[in-house]
């Protein structure tokens, strides 16, 4: 164990990956054409540059997702102790979700969730 095992593992990993590349290099007969350079070799042909700009409205979804996603971090510690605390814990998480839900309703009312 220890450093020797680490060394053996490293060498084995290098041999495994390098071997695969080398073997395929010798075995496969290559053909080069324009189709091969495209991102999706099979399927619809791609158009335009990938650097086009997105509508700024998409950021709203990202922001809303960010908030609701991160707030759920508080539910994990809650889930651990909910049995021990009992009915109070249920009431508290209901208040928490009520607050979040009000924000969600507001976003809905402002039309932030409409797909453009």
């Amino acid at each position: 164990m220890g450093p020797v095992a680490l060394l053996v593992l490293t060498i084995a990993a290098i041999l495994f990956s390098a071997g695969g590349i080398l073997v395929s290099k010798f075995l496969v007969r290559g053909s080069v054409n324009a189709q091969k350079g495209q991102p999706y070799e099979c399927g619809i042909p791609s158009e335009g540059s990938p650097w086009n700009q997105f509508n700024v409205g998409y950021y709203l979804f990202a922001l809303l997702f960010l908030i609701f996603d991160v707030e759920l971090i508080f539910v994990y510690p809650w889930a651990v102790v909910v049995k021990k605390v009992g009915i109070m814990a249920l009431v508290e998480i209901a208040i928490f979700f009520f607050i979040l839900f009000t924000g969600f309703l507001y976003a809905h009312k402002k039309g932030a969730l409409k797909w453009m």
């Binding site: 009000t102 309703l105 507001y106 009312k109």
Partner: protein, 469 residues
């Protein structure tokens, strides 16, 4: 147990209920702007009245939430400031599309300040601080199409995020050094080792950003100029006042063991703050920028009072913030009205203001006299108590510098008064009709300026509640 919760957290719960009422009204009902503002002002008045009755001292959640008569008084002062600002913003806000949102954000920041003031634990303190500064950035951006407004909001959110980063790093070191986050347990564990001092310096930097003490004041003038006037007055009075209250209580309880260290730091900061604030205020041409720098100088005076660390100093800080609410909001009330109706904010625009608007001129003059500290007004008594508290330590150099700076500040305050009364102007600001709400707010402010100083029981009441060491 549960009734304790409702009684002790009454002020916060009232604010929360108002927030949800306004938000649900926004979602559910289509109300006109005027109706919504009438409702909001009524609710804020109820909130102010509710703050005075049925309060009890006590602690909740393992000392996470603390309340006592002094904290209740501080919250009532903030409530009063909120009501006055809400009344003053009427003429600006009635043309705006997002009235309920303004009140929701305003009350969210107020809620954050309340939690911050009555925090007994660093977690609640941090949450309150962030709750009181993040919505404030969106409020600074409330003139959505104005370039200056969005620039001000950007500067505010960047500097406040940086400040809270510094503050948090200090808190984390403090936690590492003491192993607790509760204020009352921390006091016994702070010994003044280099790690404690370093953590304190980082905390001090965070606080100094929020109250714009001089090396950290650079955001202040830009944010004040760019933000709408209502938000500027909120920033300069209520937001600063709340952080000052917490600052005093944290300094006097948690960092009591290293008082010798922070005394020197605050002493230096106060002198620099007064000097820089005054020198920059002299050369300003925009009246909001001018008021920003004058408020920096006022913070310097408050720091002089804080260095005293006696019962007098904590009482004089609360007393001065109360007076500052009246005098600064009176000045901002006039500026808000002029800015909302005519859009003019330069000092030179105020030339010949007396000829067209004598009442507003007198309100502005009384407010500026009170800010400068001319004797019959309350501002004189406020500054007098602050300097007296600072002198209690026997270190007369900062007191002398502060007193000399008061003379310097007379120059620039009187410059505005001269422009208003004496200078001729070909295009003076036209005669303005004052809305009833603004009239009421100005009346409260002027009455406060004239009465608070002379009625000795106000100071005696605050003194009886205060603490020091």
């Amino acid at each position: 147990m549960l009734s304790d919760f409702f009684i002790l957290m009454k002020q916060e719960l009232v604010i929360m209920v108002i927030i949800f009422v306004l938000l649900l009204l926004k979602i559910g009902a289509d109300m006109s702007n005027e109706k919504m503002m009438n409702l909001a002002n009524g609710l804020l008045l109820l909130n102010l009245a509710a703050g005075f009755t049925g309060n009890q001292p006590g602690v909740l959640f393992n000392e996470m939430y603390v309340t006592n008569p002094l904290i209740v008084l501080e919250k009532n002062i903030l409530n009063l400031g909120t009501l006055i600002i809400s009344l003053q913003s009427f003429s600006w806000l009635k043309k705006h599309d997002h009235v309920p949102e303004f009140y929701v954000l305003l009350l969210c920041t107020l809620l954050g300040m309340f939690f911050m003031i009555s925090s007994g634990n660093l977690i609640l303190f941090y949450i309150g601080l962030e709750l009181s500064s993040i919505p404030l950035a969106t409020m600074a951006n409330f003139d959505l199409a104005a370039k200056r407004s969005s620039e001000a909001a950007m500067k505010f959110i960047m500097s406040s995020a940086f400040a809270s980063g510094l503050l948090l790093f200090g808190i984390s070191l403090l936690y590492g050094a003491t192993g607790t986050l509760t204020f009352s347990e921390m006091t016994a564990l702070i010994t003044g080792s280099p790690l404690h001092i370093f953590a304190f310096v980082l905390l001090l930097a965070g606080f100094a950003f929020k109250i714009s003490v001089v090396p950290f004041h650079l955001w202040t003038a830009d944010v004040y100029e760019g933000a709408p006037v209502a938000v500027t007055s909120w920033l300069s009075v209520v937001s600063k006042g709340s952080v000052l209250f917490v600052f005093v209580s944290v300094l006097y309880t948690v960092f009591k063991p290293i008082a010798g260290n922070w005394y020197n730091m605050l002493f230096l900061l106060s002198v620099v703050t007064i000097l820089i604030g005054n020198l920059f205020a002299i050369r300003q041409n925009n009246i909001k920028r001018f008021l920003a720098f004058s408020s920096i100088a006022q913070i310097g005076f408050i720091l002089v009072g804080i260095t005293g660390s006696s019962q007098v100093s904590s009482a004089s800080v609360v007393y001065f913030v109360l007076i500052y609410v009246f005098s600064n909001l009176a000045a901002f009330g006039v500026v808000a009205l002029v800015s909302a109706v005519t859009g003019r904010e330069q000092v030179s625009d105020y030339k010949g203001f007396y000829k067209t608007n004598p009442v507003l001129s007198w309100v502005l003059t009384i407010a500026l006299f009170s800010l400068a500290g001319v004797p019959p007004t309350a501002g004189f008594f406020g500054k007098f108590f602050l300097l007296m508290a600072g002198a209690g330590k026997g270190n007369y150099i900062p007191i002398t510098i502060a007193a000399l700076n008061m003379i310097l500040s007379f120059y620039y305050y009187l410059r505005i008064v001269k422009a208003v009364f004496m200078d001729a102007n070909e295009q003076p600001i036209e005669r303005l009709t004052i809305p009833a709400y603004s009239k009421l707010a100005m009346f409260i402010c002027v009455a406060g300026i004239l009465i608070t100083g002379l009625a000795g029981f106000v100071y005696d009441y605050i003194y009886a509640l205060s603490f020091g060491f």
